[in-house]
């Protein structure tokens, strides 16, 4: 249930953000409608009005559908099924909310072609010469500081808790990804919107400054989360629930930051609308597949400003663009595989057996094999005796906790049990502490007796 609340809190707003972003495509802004270059007088055409009407209707239909579907997840208590519903919902949201734009874009381009509104000339693009390569906002020190704090604190934690230290180190590396993203966007060419160089430069500065602040706040938020988790591990009692709360707050703050950034970007665009006297090439529409994917073999740029939504997109005609597109497609396809794996994890019961003087913990595969001679002080615990812990790596579900967990004080322990049972084993082996359980309490008690006999 807690996980489902987290999903609702973190993923449900995504549909509204996307709805807001995609719905604005129905507005004639920056000489474009549905990512198609349009002249103002063309907007009044009856066919265009009809396309806009159809878009509104389709968008409303899909938004209602997407708003209802997540409630299906309340019908099940299985986390893997809930996650599967949310994963597929997210993929469906991306696809279904893009569909009306893709259709409107296609219809509008067909209308332009039928009315011979595309100019018969070769495509050209504008470049700001005077300040080429000099509009840069990302500086080394402001980004270095949060990252070094995050990495240093994770390194300091390593001797105390290697599991959590490594997790925090991985988390801190996200800050480096934010830094790279900031540099990447900062190095994008100046968008030429006017024949006046000052307008172009100021427009680029305003946008790049906003992006720089966005990524810098992301870096600090990331560091704050790492520090919070580290302090929590070393001091708090209810670290499990507190770390989940911390993650929720972090995700919500990131979402709020995204919304704030979108609104600010729109404001910048609006404030420069009057000064805009150059639009990109009229025929460039044809390089935008349904207004969303950019494929232009004659454009050497890998990254271009996207027409739908905010930020940049790749030119799929370049080799780097092709690579990034294939990688994204693999990532998208890996979602269903991840769901299948999670369902298997949740629905396969754990098993604890003694074979050939070895304690074997099996779940999908043999997770642990511990020789009985190495097991010391086997103790039978009840659910209330289990310490408060947080997962460092492994699986943490209502019916399965498996992997390395960190308990208060920073000690790493190996866990293999079903938290819904009431009998668990605690023992030490090879200098590590283990918490294990069988498929049910009877099996756990049986194993305990066998261990005592040995």
């Amino acid at each position: 249930m807690i996980m489902n609340i987290i999903f609702f809190a973190t993923m449900y707003p995504i549909v509204f953000i996307m709805l807001f972003l995609f719905s604005t495509q129905n507005k004639y802004e920056n000489g474009r409608l549905f990512a198609v270059n349009m002249k103002k007088e063309w907007i009044k055409d009856a066919t265009v009005a009809d396309i806009r009407q159809k878009f509104k209707k389709e968008m409303r239909y899909y938004a209602i559908l997407l708003a209802i579907v997540p409630f299906v997840s309340l019908l099940t208590s299985h986390m893997s099924i809930q996650l599967t519903i949310w994963m597929f919902w997210l993929l469906a949201a991306i696809f279904l909310l893009s569909l009306p734009i893709m259709r409107a874009n296609h219809r509008l381009k067909t209308w332009k072609t039928q009315n011979h509104l595309y100019e018969d000339r070769q495509p050209e693009h504008y470049v700001e010469l005077k300040q080429a390569g000099s509009v840069r906002k990302v500086r080394f020190l402001p980004f270095f500081l949060p990252n070094i704090i995050g990495i240093a604190s994770a390194l300091l934690l390593l001797p105390k808790s290697s599991g959590l230290g490594i997790s925090c180190l991985i988390g801190a590396s996200c800050g480096l990804v934010f830094w790279l993203a900031a540099v990447w966007i900062d190095r994008q060419p100046v968008s030429v919107i006017s024949t006046d160089s000052d307008v172009n430069i100021n427009y680029a500065r305003a946008k790049k400054n906003l992006w720089k602040n966005f990524w810098l706040i992301c870096c600090w938020l990331n560091t704050a989360l790492i520090l919070f988790l580290e302090i929590l591990t070393l001091s708090a009692r209810h670290m499990g629930i507190c770390s989940i709360a911390g993650m929720i707050v972090y995700t919500l703050l990131l979402l709020l930051l995204c919304i704030f950034c979108m609104i600010k970007l729109k404001k910048i665009d609006r404030s420069y609308a009057q000064k805009r006297n150059l639009t990109s090439d009229e025929n460039d529409d044809r390089n935008w597949i349904d207004g969303i994917l950019y494929y232009n073999p004659s454009d050497p740029h890998t990254m271009v400003e996207q027409r739908v939504g905010i930020g940049t997109t790749v030119n799929m005609a370049t080799s780097l663009g092709k690579g990034l597109t294939i990688f994204s497609a693999i990532m998208m396809l890996s979602f269903p595989l991840l769901c299948i794996w999670l369902i298997q994890e949740e629905f396969t019961p754990i098993d604890l057996v003694i074979q050939n003087h070895t304690l074997c913990a099996q779940h999908l595969k043999t997770d642990y094999q511990i020789p009985l001679s190495e097991i010391k002080d086997p103790t039978l615990l009840t659910a209330s005796d289990l310490p408060d812990w947080t997962r460092t790596y492994g699986t943490s579900m209502d019916t399965l906790e498996k992997g390395t967990f960190t308990i208060s004080g920073g000690e790493d322990v190996n866990v293999f049990l079903n938290p819904e049972n009431d009998a668990f084993l605690q023992f030490s082996a090879n200098g590590k502490t283990y918490y294990m359980g069988g498929v049910d309490d009877t099996q756990t008690k049986g194993i305990h007796e066998e261990l005592l006999t040995h």
């Binding site: 495509p123 050209e124 470049v127 010469l129 080429a132 390569g133 190095r187 060419p189 740029h301």
Partner: protein
Amino acid sequence: MVISINDASEIPIYQQIRNQIVLGISDGRLAPGEQLPTVRALAEEIGINSMTVSKAYTLLKQEGYIYTDRRSGARVRQEFETNKELSEKSQELLRQIISEAKVSGMTQTEFFDLCKRIYKG
């Protein structure tokens, strides 16, 4: 100063860059002594190989429009050679343009009017 690059044109990109900079100098958008972007920065901005921009700069330098030094990079020349003559290459180009104008039926007056308009900017 905004320059436009036509990727599908038969004119090589280095030539297009060279032409646009000369155009900028002639109509005053590029002032004498003005700093030009570095080869690498301009190449990144246009999204082309640095060699292409380097070729354009070398051409401009040979023709006396810009000068380069290690410290300040490329700059527009403060003074140009005012020999009041067009290079042989430019004269050949002009000859071609005049021929095209003649074939298209333009009179001498019409051609001169056009030249005056373009010359004044």
